[in-house]
């Protein structure tokens, strides 16, 4: 590796010599987002060409998955304890191979009403983020109690835990592009569809230790 410490000192020297007079840091309010969190979430996710399904219980959501995931000669990658796919992230020590996954099923513990975003990290993706990127269809379970109002609230919820995750991403709909004549095309290079399965649970489920605040 090239030693760049000389460049580093030269850059710092110029910054210190020329930086503008100190400007104080402002306080950013924790802006919320008005309206019903779950309804906003669904509306926004659909605006990003995502799909949303609501269920009265987690069991209903799982039953729906059993029926609706495309099983025909396909690899279904599941990270859920209560839904068995044909493979899981553990079967992919080499992420390049994830191109053969047809559907990936995971659970998110944080949704954002303002944008219809689902927060997923290595923790939910079994340490292989490629399962959510190179698959065709992405299914994400979420407890409706885990959907927060706006993005400021979402960042506040993960600010102490995100750093532990190599990869942490707000997924907002399937991959898309508008690079040719600004025509919106869904399904660019990541997943070509994203379905959120929103379930209500009578009692808040036990949350993983990496998301202590995710329900706020």
């Amino acid at each position: 590796m090239i030693d760049t410490s000389k460049a580093r000192s030269a850059i710092f020297e110029r910054i210190r010599a020329g930086k503008p007079a100190a400007v104080e840091a402002p306080t950013v309010p924790l802006y919320g987002w008005p309206g019903d969190k779950v309804e906003n979430f669904i509306k926004q996710l659909e605006a990003f060409d995502g799909r949303a399904q609501r269920f009265d219980s987690r069991a209903d959501a799982i039953a729906w998955l059993e029926k609706n995931v495309d099983w025909r000669n396909k690899r279904v990658c599941s990270q859920l304890p209560d839904f068995k796919g044909t493979v899981s992230a553990a079967d992919y020590p080499d992420p390049h191979k994830c191109t053969d996954i047809s559907a990936t099923v995971v659970e998110s513990h944080l949704g954002v009403g303002e944008m219809g975003s689902l927060y997923l990290t290595d923790a939910e993706l079994g340490g292989v983020p490629a399962i959510a990127l190179l698959c065709l269809d992405l299914f994400v379970l979420i407890n409706e109690a885990d959907i927060v109002d706006g993005l400021h609230t979402a960042y506040a919820a993960v600010k102490d835990t995100m750093r532990e995750q190599p990869y942490a991403c707000f997924f907002s709909g399937p991959s898309a592009t508008a690079d040719i004549e600004a025509v919106h095309v869904t399904g660019a290079q990541g997943a070509t569809s994203l379905t959120a399965l929103i379930y209500s649970a009578p009692q808040p489920p036990q949350r993983g230790s990496s998301h202590p605040d995710s329900g706020c």
Binding site: S117, S175, D179
Partner: protein
């Protein structure tokens, strides 16, 4: 390098009506969507102020935040490199690729890498980096610079892309549907992803307190490049650092809404460590930024978050294309940024402006672009860098505007010229204005003469008003 003549380049695009109209329409739609989403958020203007203040705060403590970022990123297992120049930046990356015996590398859109012409550098040394973003890939295959920092191929029509893909990727030249063309691209890239050995990406925000980076993108190509290959190299300018993770929320809420009028990008990704078994590097580039920081006149250009809103709104940019600027950063921000890279080459860019001020109104971090346009024109005049004809005009204007008498002489001369000079001379290259305008009918008198003739009457009517004092000035 020769001086860029944006006016001449732009004139060619203006004449190409189908391309010009499509360019204008696509970008103006983005601007209108931006207004819609912004107006739905009551705190929008407050957010712009805060985003500007955070950037100013960070820039005024840049050494501190860069050190904090470096310390935390290193603790996270990320290798940090520093580059003063594009050559250093490119050499660091080239050496890393070479050490890892990389034959297939993909890159998700990075402005810093474009600024350094990294692709060109490694290509000369026998290595090829595949642009994985659709727009960037189109431009790479066409051997052309990006037209726009967010939508790099927006100046092309679907037929252009179909023809290009047919030639380079073997697709059907007669199918011009963007869905089909996107499918061609997807299939082409999937083959690369099966064997990529290195991924490259840019950085939207580097977070000092956590030592991670945030990248906002739509297509998924950036994330794939980040997490699939065993080597990840990110590239960023020194100004990309912000103090806190909570601050990212504010910028993410502003970025895509300003860029395309969409509430967020499909992927808002944070990388804090390499993946298991992966090696991760970040190259931090100066390339004149620390010098810009030291300028009391234009350090505020460093606040720019590269959303492209100023381009979408600019009446000149929309009709003349981004390519006409022959610059990595085009449009309004390019006009005030590029002269600080190479004053002679980009001296004419600040003249490609109608002074509508719209860029300043939409900028999410309040870069004072309209003021900086005037600043750079001043520098051009002082250093005699602009067009010769501008130089002559400016010298003449300075003489004429010196006193009321010389101005009156100038007015009389202009009227005399309009009345007496032959039409061919009035329409000649000496008067570029006449290229696209008809010369006015010569009036009966100059405004000054008209004013004097009516002076007595007006004075009588306004005897008791303030206007009286104004009118009695010796004109």
């Amino acid at each position: 390098m020769s001086q860029v003549n944006q006016v001449k380049n732009g004139a060619r695009f203006i004449k190409d009506i189908p391309h010009r109209e499509s360019h204008d329409r696509c970008l103006w739609n983005a601007r209108m969507r931006r207004d819609q989403t912004a107006q739905a958020i009551p705190e929008w203007e407050e957010m712009r102020d805060l985003a500007s203040q955070i950037k100013e705060h960070t820039l005024s403590h840049l050494d501190h935040y860069l050190e904090e970022f470096e310390k935390n990123a290193t603790a996270n297992g990320i290798h940090i490199h520093w580059a003063e120049t594009p050559e250093e930046h490119n050499e660091i990356i080239y050496q890393l690729l070479k050490q890892h015996n990389v034959t297939t590398a993909t890159t998700g859109k990075s402005m810093t890498m474009d600024e350094c012409d990294l692709r060109g550098y490694v290509e000369k040394r026998g290595m090829y980096i595949h642009e994985a973003d659709l727009g960037e890939c189109i431009q790479q295959l066409d051997n052309q610079m990006p037209d726009h920092i967010v939508v790099p191929a927006i100046h092309k029509l679907r037929q252009d892309v179909a023809t290009l893909f047919a030639k380079k990727l073997g697709s059907d030249p007669d199918i011009t549907d963007p869905h089909y063309l996107n499918g061609v691209m997807r299939a082409y890239m999937r083959k690369k992803y099966e064997k990529i050995e290195a991924g490259l990406c840019g950085v939207n925000f580097a977070i000092a307190e956590t030592g991670g980076i945030c990248v906002c993108s739509n297509e998924g190509d950036v994330d794939i490049s980040q997490v699939v290959p065993p080597l990840l190299i990110a590239s960023m300018g020194i100004e990309k650092v912000i103090p806190t993770l909570q601050g990212v929320a504010l910028y993410v809420r502003l970025l895509s809404r300003s860029a395309l009028g969409l509430d967020i990008t499909q992927y808002t990704t944070h990388i804090h460590h390499p993946q298991p078994g992966q090696e991760m590097h970040i190259v931090i580039l100066d390339n004149g930024r620390s010098k810009r920081l030291g300028s009391p006149d234009y350090w505020q250009v460093l606040k720019c978050i590269r959303c492209g809103a100023c381009m979408n709104t600019c009446p000149v940019f929309r009709r003349t294309s981004g390519l006409s600027y022959e610059a990595v950063y085009m449009g309004p921000i390019g006009c005030v940024l590029m002269p600080s890279y190479d004053l002679h080459r980009y001296a004419r860019l600040p003249y490609s402006c109608t002074h509508c001020g719209s860029c300043g109104d939409v900028c999410p971090v309040k870069v004072p672009i309209p003021e900086l346009i005037f600043y750079w024109r001043g520098v051009d005049v002082d250093k005699h860098q602009s067009e010769k004809v501008h130089d002559a005009e400016e010298t003449a204007a300075e003489l004429m505007l010196r006193s009321s008498k010389t101005l009156a002489m100038g007015e009389n001369m202009a009227l005399w010229g309009l009345r007496n000079l032959p039409q061919w001379l009035l329409d000649s290259g000496l008067n570029p204005w006449a290229d696209v305008h008809a010369n006015p009918e010569p009036p009966k008198e100059t405004f000054r003469e008209y004013y004097r003739r009516n002076y007595k009457k007006i004075e009588f009517m306004n005897k008791t008003t303030d206007l009286h004092g104004f009118l009695s000035l010796n004109l």
